[in-house]
Symmetry: C2
Subunit: 383 residues, 2 copies
């Protein structure tokens, strides 16, 4: 049934490198890859409207099965006609499975091969999620790309539980795919990813990748990263796995990362990114530029009437000064968070467009080197 | 020096009524009257951007001398080149004097004929404001319309202190005007209002109006209303004063009000309104429609996928459902406040456009009657 050439098209591989320029095709439209997915955990990218995201040029939003399952609940989204209609977003949506949230947000959980029982972080009520149930929820959501329930190892993690997580993740991925096929999710235009686990153990990561590649899913994600390990370990994990992944499937580095990390990971062959960094940092007044971060509350911006980022053409940078945005933060005004988050998401989305142009131009290594050096990235030394 | 015909043009008086269709002219552009001024107390209309306000069609914003004086402070706004540049709004601005805030926000104040000493509600530091100082601050702000320092009587208020407030308000208005003229504020394109006080005492209100009319200011405001008195008393105050005010000056009913109150006050001859109601109510999830208020958190909207207001064409109503907005409020998401506030300010601004068309059509009484009845207004009975 699966016709991969209609899900991912590899347009160009960087000359002498591993960066890839491609397109992901969904029934809600194409997404030019590599791309960044703004995170709308609860069906909203914090402080931004869907109109903002369209204006920014975002081609996809990410949302979260765990959060939507708990609130507003599947019934309401089903009656709305799916998540796209519920949130007013007619472009592609990827939904995470909630595996990560069950492990990071809940106080109590009971894990068996059957699934995971947990207490809601909202009201303490108990719920039981299985790989099949997570697919059924994502059927209701109608997301274009769906993630399977996986066991995300914390950091640090002993070898034995990391191995157990790899085993269970593969077991669940198998059940997920069977359910995905059986219930007609593919026919309804959905695409299934699987998630490579294995903590920081090379053989476990390789085993996890092999097991999932054998399973043959539409896309591959590297999970269990950005959970507390060092940036060096994170890129080591990526380097072990990336070369194993099939060239004709999109590759997703989950929850990554800072701008310089994205630039680096694209250079290693990643196509898809998501992180709450641009909105979360924005809400605390930290803004991104090519020359690093600006902490807008700092006194040095008190009478700085220049834009947040003089190289940016977003409405925040066109219409407002650093001094004004600083005033908004000091006065506790919501517009401050919104202007900063808008700039940051715009910065990320435009960074991806620059990345794509650099790959098209055929010299990604030069772009990467130049970017990391201007950004003042510790990753620069390793290029 | 004053050339009134270049500040307010009366275009049309409603046939057989007192509603007025006019234009207020400022160096930052014309404002079609009657109009509503969205309130940006701290140089921002809560949750909305200046781009939002332009898209909504707001022709003017209101800000507040007291708040801006305390934060960010005059120095910063002066170095920004004035309030328009500081906040990124190139249309007209009216700034309130801060008289009301000194009386309502501060814990401690000392009032003499010279001025008012008070403790900042932010850091407790003592400040001294005089009628002259308030003008100097508004010179720095560069607002198109400036309000004088006045003594705003609380409610209820004994006759003696209300009379004292009328006396002091006139004394301060005189000093204000002298300073306004002497320091060249008029030449710099600013326009001075005066504020009628007198609490709920007819003779005091009339005396206050007479004293200020003798002083000859560019516009007239009715202050000390919406401070706790009944709606009936509020309109009584308006009825005493409105007929006395010169026809060739704009008339401003300060801090009013609910949509039905605005419709009613326009019928009595008011040109200008401001209130935090649309943004404040929006932030708590109460939204305005011609058929009254919607409290979006209510359970009845849980699966209501219709727009907030089916008669509205704002982005909130075009792109989002009641169920989605309710979800945003329940999940504590900022976008909820923003969508509700946007709709409410849009509702107010468009209500003023409908009001202007009704006056132009020459039958405001019919519009008023129809609106008040559909809105379910208690004012309907008195039309």
């Amino acid at each position: 049934m699966s016709d991969q050439k209609y899900f991912y098209t590899l347009l160009k591989q960087d000359r002498g490198g591993t960066a890839r320029r491609g397109v992901v095709h969904t029934s809600h439209g194409d997404i030019q890859a590599p791309f960044f997915m703004p995170v709308g955990t609860k069906a909203t990218v914090k402080t931004l409207s869907q109109e903002d995201l369209r204006a920014i040029g975002a081609e996809i939003e990410l949302s979260n099965t765990y959060h939507l399952f708990l609130r507003p609940g599947c019934d309401i989204i089903q009656r709305a006609g799916g998540l796209h209609k519920f949130m007013g977003w007619d472009r592609p949506i990827l939904t995470d499975s909630g595996g990560y949230q069950v492990f990071s947000l809940t106080d109590w959980r009971k894990l068996t091969d059957e699934g995971v029982e947990f207490q809601s972080h909202i009201d303490g009520l108990k719920h039981f999620l299985t790989p099949e149930r997570v697919m059924d929820i994502q059927t209701v959501l109608g997301s274009d790309m769906v993630m399977p329930l996986d066991e995300c190892s914390p950091y640090p993690c002993e070898r034995a539980p990391a191995e157990e997580a790899v085993r269970r993740t593969a077991l669940w991925a198998k059940r997920t795919k069977a359910h995905f096929e059986k219930t007609g999710m593919r026919e309804r235009g959905q695409h299934l990813f699987s998630i490579v686990q294995g903590s920081v153990y090379q053989d476990l990561r390789e085993r996890s990748a092999r097991e999932l590649i054998d399973l043959d899913t539409d896309g591959y994600a590297i999970g269990g990263v950005s959970v507390g390990e060092t940036v060096e370990e994170m890129f080591k994990v990526l380097s072990w796995v990336i070369g194993m992944l099939p060239r004709d499937r999109p590759r997703y580095f989950m929850g990554i990362g800072m701008p310089d990390q994205i630039v680096k990971a694209v250079g290693m062959g990643i196509d898809m990114f998501d992180t709450v960094v641009p909105t979360r940092y924005g809400r605390y007044g930290t803004c991104f530029t090519d020359r690093g971060q600006i902490v807008i509350r700092n006194g040095q911006y008190k009478e700085d009437f220049s834009p947040l980022d003089s190289e940016c053409d977003c409405p925040t940078c066109r219409n407002y000064s650093r001094a004004y945005i600083r005033h908004l933060f000091n006065a506790g005004e919501v517009l401050g968070l919104r202007l900063a988050a808008y700039h940051n998401v715009h910065y990320y989305v435009r960074l991806m467009a620059r990345i794509r142009r650099a790959i098209e131009a055929g010299d990604y290594a030069a772009f990467e080197k130049d970017f990391l050096s201007r950004y003042g990235s510790p990753l620069a030394e390793r290029v």
